[in-house]
Amino acid sequence: MKYVPLVWAAIMRKPTRAVLTLLSVMLAFTLFGLTIGMNATFAKVQEEARDDRIFAFARFGGLVPIALERQIEGMPGVAMVASSSFVPGYLHDPKNRIFVQMMDENIPKVLPEWPITPQQWQLIRDDRQGMLVSKMQADRWHLKAGDTLTIAAPAARKLDGSPSWTFHVAAITSDINYMSQGYMFGNFDYMDKARTLSDQSKTGQFRVKVSDPSKTAEIAAQIVSKFANSPTPLETITEKVAFDVSAGTGMDIASVDRDVALAGMFMVLFLTANGLAQAVRERFAEFATLKTIGFSDSGVIALVFAEAAIPCLMGAGLGIGLASIVSNVMPRFLPPGQGLPIPTMTIMVFVWAGLCAALVAFISAALPALRLKQMDIATALSGR
């Protein structure tokens, strides 16, 4: 501990350099936090996906007869089936996209982990035009319980040909992690009874819950083959696969994120290694003095490592801090409907950042340390 002032003095010898290095390291770690934090979000979503649930929907697009719900429910191994459809619309201007998911009464039972109380679900049963709005969406459209919202949905017309759908905001509810833009939930019956005859008794997708999680994939395949020759063939995807971002987009996003973080680290490594080498070169004679007054090789080397570690670790801490601030304010600036994931600063992000910072510091200090170990005290003292 008593050497802290010594290390500090060494760093602050060139304050401009110290501050610039720190800022550079900080930004590289901000990027690190954002990218690795995004991977943490993907991992969290994937982890929260339940292994006993399946999505089933029309194989060739469009709506599915609701009657299939009972048929799937009758299959061995299936515990329960819920269905949901959606009203894809907009508010005032097509740019203000609004997507209301219309839930049937089984949804709360098949998705019990959602942060919505039975009382809240009951609200949209009691009032068919009721709607549950997540906090994020409520903030976005400035909605509160009791408001009325009319959206235009040209792709889901009503019986009279009108595209406008009116909803009553019944309650503002907590957000659901994997719906990074928030959600709006309405009552499926409202939609079903109001829409054009050809679309009535049809829904968008089923959420199938199986009784034995080890049979999920098997049952998913059985559902496909059961309806393969029906007028509405189905396609299924297990929740685990559906919530896997690289399976969804077809691009290995997690490794892209890692590469970006790595590029930042590489840049910083170059910077700190150079700065340190230069600092040690400038103070070569001083290190010789330290050795002369009795500092051991390892003592001097420890000083160099400390000199490297302080800006790296401080920069990492500040960078991750900045990244978490950015992720907190990010949702406010993102355009809606892009579905960009918001990074999460989990413990693992901190741990990885710490490890990377330590590694960068270690590599930066390695060469200068080696030079100090091999230094010839007499030559160094003479300043040549």
């Binding site: 610039l20 590289a28 595209p163 007028p231 987009t249 590029a263």
Partner: protein, 385 residues
């Protein structure tokens, strides 16, 4: 003055060798920044090009009023002939209007890596090839109307399994063989095409999705649009095909492009601090040399300019290296994102953007050190060891 700038800068660049590793901080910083940014932008730029190539200013698309996606539009059998006889549509050599009844639906596919995905299957009627003259069969033959057969795009062939001639695609009424491979130079290359009428029957649909017409000339859009919007039997929107795809392109690539720029900006600021650091160090190592020049009668300005030029040279070199790596790794590579197949693109315009980005960093990163260099007290600097 220019001569002085030239002499001082030349001297400066000659001494770069002795500051090699220090200077590499700027080169590596900008190489990483521009390399990462252009690699990320290659996705959004490639996707944008694929979409934009799909539209054409001499085509118009007719969709149900207010919809934003082809799949959610519905054109009934009764509406189709009304649209086809409207003025402003180009005619083929038999005098028939070049208006195509189209379908669009998603079909599940297996990606080359074995994971499940979707692609778009399009229905095209008899006038389809006339409306889309860019469609060329490169292997096998065109599908025949009334037959249950499909053609696949060259991109789909690479990115999905089971897309060769002779392979079968499962549709609701059985298996349809792929009998030809086509090229279009746009996002259709990642898709499948079959006969609209036959597909309609096979998928138990009653309506087409859109009407795609070839305009008599790009200027005849207004006449066509007027005929559509004044006909009370139709409730449709008419949009120039290129405008339609420009909107689709912005909507689907905005987020990705934004991400690329944000990452690029964060890295650029990091590189900027590195650049400042290096240039301050360079000025202090060159203190003696600068003071000598000043003592010999050189102005402060050439000295300051030489510092900025050095920063420029280093960062633009870095940017070109980064851009070169991004280009070599990704440009022209076939890729897939959100079920759209496209060629990744690191274009000249983007490389230029990377260079501008680097020049901006160098300007800012060289400015303050150059001021310090210009203000260096000559006597003190000469005395310094």
């Amino acid at each position: 003055m220019l001569r002085q700038i030239w002499i001082v800068s030349a001297l400066n660049f000659k001494s770069l060798k002795s500051r090699f590793w220090q200077s590499m901080v700027i080169v590596v910083g900008l190489a990483a920044t521009v390399g990462v940014m252009l690699s990320m932008l290659s996705v959004s730029a490639g996707m944008r090009t694929a979409y934009q190539n799909s539209g054409s200013p001499d085509r118009a698309i007719v969709v149900s009023k207010g919809v934003e996606q082809e799949a959610s539009s519905a054109i009934t059998r009764a509406m189709a002939p009304l649209i086809a006889v409207a003025p402003g549509i180009a005619k083929d050599k038999d005098g028939k209007p070049l208006a195509d009844r189209t379908l669009q639906l998603g079909v599940p596919v297996v990606r080359a890596n074995g994971s499940k995905g979707f692609t778009t299957m399009r229905g095209m009627a008899e006038k389809g090839p006339g409306v889309r003259p860019e469609l060329k069969i490169v292997a096998g033959r065109m599908f025949q109307s009334g037959k249950r057969e499909l053609i696949a795009g060259v991109g789909a062939q690479v990115m999905f399994q089971h897309m060769q001639i002779g392979d079968k695609v499962i549709l609701p009424d059985g298996e349809w063989p792929i009998i030809g491979i086509y090229k279009t130079g746009d996002q259709l290359e990642g898709q499948l095409i079959g006969d609209s009428e036959t597909l309609l029957t096979a998928t138990h649909k009653t309506n087409y999705n859109t009407m795609l017409v070839r305009l008599a000339s790009p200027d005849s859009l207004d006449a066509f649009k007027k005929a559509m919007t004044t006909n009370p039997a139709l409730s449709v929107d008419v949009i120039r095909h290129s405008d339609w795809y420009n909107r689709v392109a912005s909507q689907s690539t905005f987020g990705l492009a934004l991400l690329g720029y944000v990452v690029g900006a964060v890295m650029a600021i990091g590189a900027l601090f590195g650049c400042l650091n290096t240039m301050y160090a360079a000025v202090s190592t060159r203190g003696r040399e600068i003071a000598t020049l000043r003592a010999l009668g050189y102005d402060a300005l050439p000295v300051a300019v030489s510092v900025i030029l050095e920063a420029m040279l280093l960062s633009v070199t870095g940017a070109l290296i980064g851009a070169g790596i991004a280009w070599a790794l990704y440009d022209g590579k076939l890729d897939l994102f959100n079920n759209v197949i496209f060629y990744l693109s690191v274009s000249r315009a983007q490389i230029a953007l990377g260079v501008i980005w680097a020049a901006a960093v160098a300007l800012l990163g060289g400015l303050f050190p150059s001021i310090r260099a210009a203000r260096l007290p000559v006597v003190d600097a000469l005395r310094a060891t």
